[in-house]
Symmetry: C2
Subunit: 258 residues, 2 copies
Amino acid sequence: MTPRQMIFTALPGMPMIHAGDDLGQLILEGLAQAGIVLENGDVLILAQKIVSKAEGREVRLEQVRPSEEACSLAARSGKDPRLVELILRESRKILRQRGELIIVEHRLGFICANAGIDRSNVGAQETGGDARVLLLPEDPDASAARIRRRLKKASGAEIGVLIIDSHGRAWRRGTVGVCIGVAGFPALQDLRGRPDLFGRRLEITQVGLADEIAAGASALMGQADEGVPVIHLRGLPYPLRDASLAEILRPEKEDLFR
Amino acid sequence: MTPRQMIFTALPGMPMIHAGDDLGQLILEGLAQAGIVLENGDVLILAQKIVSKAEGREVRLEQVRPSEEACSLAARSGKDPRLVELILRESRKILRQRGELIIVEHRLGFICANAGIDRSNVGAQETGGDARVLLLPEDPDASAARIRRRLKKASGAEIGVLIIDSHGRAWRRGTVGVCIGVAGFPALQDLRGRPDLFGRRLEITQVGLADEIAAGASALMGQADEGVPVIHLRGLPYPLRDASLAEILRPEKEDLFR
């Protein structure tokens, strides 16, 4: 018997992404270069940055006029008031602020630092020193669904698509890859009712599968100069299904740590 | 150029584990059955349950005498007072309790529900209805180091070993695999000082690599009747080094969500 495997493959040859680029086409070319023919059950995991860039979510800081609230929070946190203005616009509320750290509930529903706004890997040099930052995609579930349709149309395969970012977390040091957008993938995998080895019902009933796969893929992506923004996964040991990110987000009233 | 891959393989043929079993030997047999010859840089990821069982960490509830504090918390949470007594003994403090949920700071330093004590997959039937529970290993870093030495002696390869469990988390639904013991693996991978694509210093500086790999491996392990407790990983894109779990645990004074 062949042992069960999950194989994460970093797609080679992904170019620098710009607004308007056809990500689906670039992914298809990367797959071809890796010698991968998509099959039913395969999953593609995309770094948030390339989705945001392709969707034109870069913002020039010089075009942002900070509010009074942003200026006040900027003073307390030592951040650029224009960046803080964008953080506020992208957030439902500020949960914590200490020093430079601003933890928010993002308008998309998850908790993260700086509303997921990124200054790294956005080319200021490219634009003659005009500082830019990158917002998260407007609607990452919809972005994932678009790319999924595109790849299905080209390949005929039923695949899942995850868009992931790196988040800090409570209690533990270091960022980990987490899912911020999903299409055709069981974000939360329900094990309720499945018996354990001794026939009892399992106490652990729901697995954050989208985040487990996001984390594994993130380890292969890296984040710096050698970063690879698209990972192909074969061998997920669960069937794919339709889902949205909402199912993995804990509502505030259920949350003991917000 | 061959694309970069991470390959997780579920070791076949692992038997039910009992106190005193030689886990290292069983892993070597599983590797042989999977046709894997260990190489430098490989990682083995072990479910906490088999380490705990091999180390005899099962406790018979009938032998536990609950304290007054345990009885009081048991009444509030609707749990067995003897189980609550064990949770208290294994914890530094209770962080939250709501309904059946008891979130603690474990004596090992991490935050988890029920002190990681598990009733699933511990065979009550095996023992004529004598209810047992399974505590976490006494010192998971030491357990990982012992198994690492054993495998290195047999194979000559420099490998990493992770012991993992499934934890709930703040803000998000579903459990994810996290590392609770580590040997020879960079628990926290420091990216500080590495330039990003445009030569700026990265803002995200530390990756919770042990937890990313734990999460990926956990997705392949599953947790129910088909559970596979040992995963082999080839292709980790970072060098191995000595480490302990402590480096990935956020001290209380740095933690905004405790």
